[in-house]
């Protein structure tokens, strides 16, 4: 299995960034950094849109970030119904790198607010699937 192992339902099977899933297996969430110009990207990309290089390294997203915004989705699109409700949000980590994803379901509703400190971790899903989520730091 390659990239289609990422997330609850994957809509992409082949990508040059499939190694992202290998890092998830090692409990790491990684973005890419351009070897030529140093631009950092999350989500990862295999081509640099700043200097056009295709030479990329991987860097880990770690430490604490800040939740910028979120929503609690009460309904879900087709294929995700059994998960609802769930919280989606965007958080900013070091160097302005931002991450979009779900928030930990165990977080009490009233604890989730913009500005809260968060960290990111890998989650194992049913069917040998892997993802990541944000939780309170």
């Amino acid at each position: 299995m390659g990239f289609e192992q990422f997330g609850i339902i994957s809509f992409t099977s082949t990508t040059k960034t499939a190694q992202f899933v290998d890092f998830l297996k090692e409990n790491e969430i990684r973005g890419t950094v351009c070897k030529e110009c140093g631009a950092r990207f999350f989500p990862p990309r295999s081509d640099c849109s700043v200097c056009l290089s295709d030479e990329m390294d991987w860097f880990p997203i770690s430490g604490e970030g800040t939740l910028l915004t979120f929503t609690k989705a009460m309904f879900a699109p087709a294929g995700f119904e059994k998960d609802a409700p769930y919280i989606l949000g965007v958080a900013e980590f070091a160097d302005g790198v931002k991450v979009f994803g779900r928030l930990d379901k165990a977080l009490p509703d009233d604890s989730v607010k913009p500005g809260m400190r968060v960290k990111i971790h890998v989650v194992a899903l049913e069917g040998d699937r892997l993802s990541y989520e944000l939780t309170a730091a």
Partner: protein, 384 residues
């Protein structure tokens, strides 16, 4: 720059479920626009067909439409930018005419959304976000806009009631628009019922899917004067884009693409926001209208709520917005929406908007957004 006019407008009724096929749905707007302009099929030099393709079983719909509308053997092609497809169609038609390639170009927008379930529709629209990195989390349009609502509330203190006031306004005008899908006037208490779709957005903060079509006919200055007595002129066109992935965005309290598109459109038209007499903005969600007030310069950033609290965007206010009910009340048949907005503005500038007429309107603006601020189209029109 060459002058380009709109010389014919048409729109089908927007309905929950159209009892016919896409070609028949398209013909309703086409017939109305052709009759409005007093035109026959031979007058059309080329057609631009606009929709969001994920809803159609028909592949390459432009070919089908050109045949059914009687527009063979003239050129036709397909333009797509999801919810702003037909505004991108207007931009394309303008370029075709201003370049001198064609004199009269038809822009047809359509969408028949009723053939799939709401959950399927949300899944397909969700794939208007980044399918590689976002859709695996279960994304949908209300959730994306809800994150902007939360962002705006957090930054500026906008409230759920401010958003509800926008729906109350919309419903008041939807009630008098015979082509709207939602024609019931709503009280604030009703809109505020805590039926959350994606917090802080509730049921009435969201527009409804609909089936519908729109049709516009654009012409060169010479042809417009020859064919039509009341041309409405395209004064300015602005378009801008922003990253599709939320992680690549800088702000969640406005849409950068709309702000940049507006700046370009105002510059091209040589006007300022104060010169706009009537506007149609892309209110797929109430928060989208509030952000539009600010991105278009009708209010300072963070002050959009004052416009709706003071009823400045009602017909009698300083800057009337969506006095045809907007997407919230008319419904939002993706590919038809931009053309429907332009039709409303053209009728306003001709003084033919009936009960919705803003007295003496001379300059009108259309703000039409594709996806969650991926594509921003702002187009400015003027009466002679």
């Amino acid at each position: 720059m060459a002058r380009v006019a709109v010389i014919g407008v048409g729109q089908s009724a927007f309905v929950r479920s159209y009892p016919g096929s896409i070609r028949e749905l398209a013909f309703e707007a086409y017939r109305e626009a052709m009759r409005d302009g007093g035109l026959k099929p031979g007058d059309i030099d080329a057609s631009v067909i606009c929709s969001a393709p994920e809803y159609d079983k028909q592949r390459t719909p432009a070919g089908l439409m050109a045949e059914y509308l009687g527009l063979n053997p003239q050129p036709t092609f397909y333009v797509e930018s999801v919810c702003s497809s037909s505004s991108s169609g207007v931009r394309t038609a303008y370029a075709l005419i201003a370049s001198g390639l064609h004199d009269v170009v038809l822009v047809l927008g359509f969408q028949k959304m009723s053939e799939i379930s709401s959950a399927e529709s949300q899944e397909r629209m969700g794939r208007g976000g980044d399918i590689q990195w976002e859709a695996p989390f279960g994304t949908m349009m209300p959730a994306y806009y809800a994150m902007h609502a939360k962002g705006h509330m957090e930054k500026y203190g906008t409230t759920e009631e401010d958003l509800a006031l926008i729906r109350v306004k919309s419903s008041a005008y939807g009630a008098i628009n015979e082509k709207a899908v939602f024609r019931k006037s709503l009280a604030l208490e009703k809109v505020m019922e805590p039926k959350y779709v994606a917090t802080p957005l509730k049921m009435f903060d969201c527009c409804a899917n609909a089936d519908g079509s729109s049709c516009l006919i654009l012409a060169s200055e010479a042809k417009a004067k020859e064919l039509f007595s009341k041309p409405v002129w395209v004064l300015g066109l602005g378009m801008a884009t922003a990253p599709i992935n939320m992680a690549m965005r800088d702000t969640f309290s406005g849409l950068k693409c709309a702000e940049l598109a507006a700046k370009k459109a105002y510059e091209m038209a040589g006007i300022t926001p104060k010169d706009v007499d009537v506007a149609e903005v892309h209110d797929c969600f109430t928060i989208a209208e509030l952000m539009a007030y600010e991105n278009l310069g009708f209010a300072e950033p963070g002050q959009g709520r004052e416009l709706i609290r003071n009823k400045e965007t009602y017909k009698e206010g300083r800057i009337p917005v969506n006095v045809d009910g907007g997407l919230l009340s008319k419904g939002h048949p993706i590919g038809a929406t931009g053309g429907s907005q332009v039709r409303t503005i053209v009728l306003q500038l001709r003084g033919e908007a009936g009960e919705m007429q803003v007295p003496g309107a001379r300059v009108g603006l259309v703000h039409n957004i594709g996806g969650v601020g991926i594509y921003g189209n702002v187009t400015i029109f003027g009466a002679e």
